[in-house]
Symmetry: C2
Subunit: 164 residues, 2 copies
């Protein structure tokens, strides 16, 4: 809020461009709460304890980016609710990855406060990444290479991490 910071929007990197949309402090917690059913300004404000001007700015930006759709649900006085779009719902894997890491490395004292349930099997689930090409489980046996849009393939890096 009011603090100028470098934009990631023009960086030729999908991670940077995603962070440009959802990487501001609070934004992913706002999206998290939307997955839990929150749609109204006052509910976010109460749950997050966030300053109203910051919340308004974050919601405006997420609407502008197409993560939320703003819908009027009352005319007099005018009141709006905020619904996740498909683009917003597709952030679920980002939240799940953050949750999995936090459950392991920054656990809450009494265990997870929320669990993800897979409707099809009815069990608590962690997302386990599999390879889209061969279908096998993806572990640490992956590396990153320059893609077709690489401006300078050398940008990809100083080679493979020395400590792999």
């Amino acid at each position: 809020m009011g603090v100028r910071r470098t934009s990631f929007a023009d960086m030729p990197c999908a991670i940077a461009r995603t962070l440009e949309v959802v990487g501001e402090w609070w934004s992913l917690l706002i999206v998290r709460d939307a997955f839990l059913g929150v749609t109204r300004f006052d509910d976010w404000q109460r749950r997050l304890g966030i300053a109203r001007n910051v919340l308004a700015a974050r919601l405006d930006r997420l609407v502008e980016e197409g993560v939320f759709e703003r819908r009027r649900y009352q005319d007099n006085p005018p009141r709006h609710e905020y619904l996740l779009t498909d683009k917003g719902r597709d952030l679920a894997p980002v939240l799940q990855a953050l949750r999995s890491w936090g459950d392991h490395y920054a656990p809450t004292p009494d265990g997870p406060t929320t669990v993800l349930v897979h409707d099809a099997c009815g069990h608590a689930a962690r997302p386990v990444p599999h390879c889209s090409a061969c279908g096998e489980r993806l572990g640490r046996d992956v590396h990153v290479e320059a893609g077709p849009g690489a401006v300078d393939p050398a940008f990809v890096g100083a080679g493979r991490p020395a400590d792999r």
Copy 2:
């Protein structure tokens, strides 16, 4: 830098606690570059175009949190490099989820600048989440429930999102 902001560390939520560690502007791009092989201050500084004091603060914090290990590689003058720990390398799924979303919703004009390659099969891969319980692919057929550590199960939310 110098801007006070709410800490997420005490929130009873694994997502918030993860963002407390890696959610500051720049932190995940620093970790991204580490996966690409960057280990030295000047290389990050040049690649990211980040202010030196901000980079120093972010690296200090990531070392303090155990995401990086600081190692002296030269004595005179003293020089250090920063290596991802296991805790840091386990952020790979977070970066992969951000990359997948960005490839779809915030693509670079000429295609992805980097691709993830699965060493075992040799193909470019997207991580596809599968259920840890039943092994099937996880789609949108998931929901979140209160876990054992929930302070107030009602905190989980206003029920299931209305627009699922």
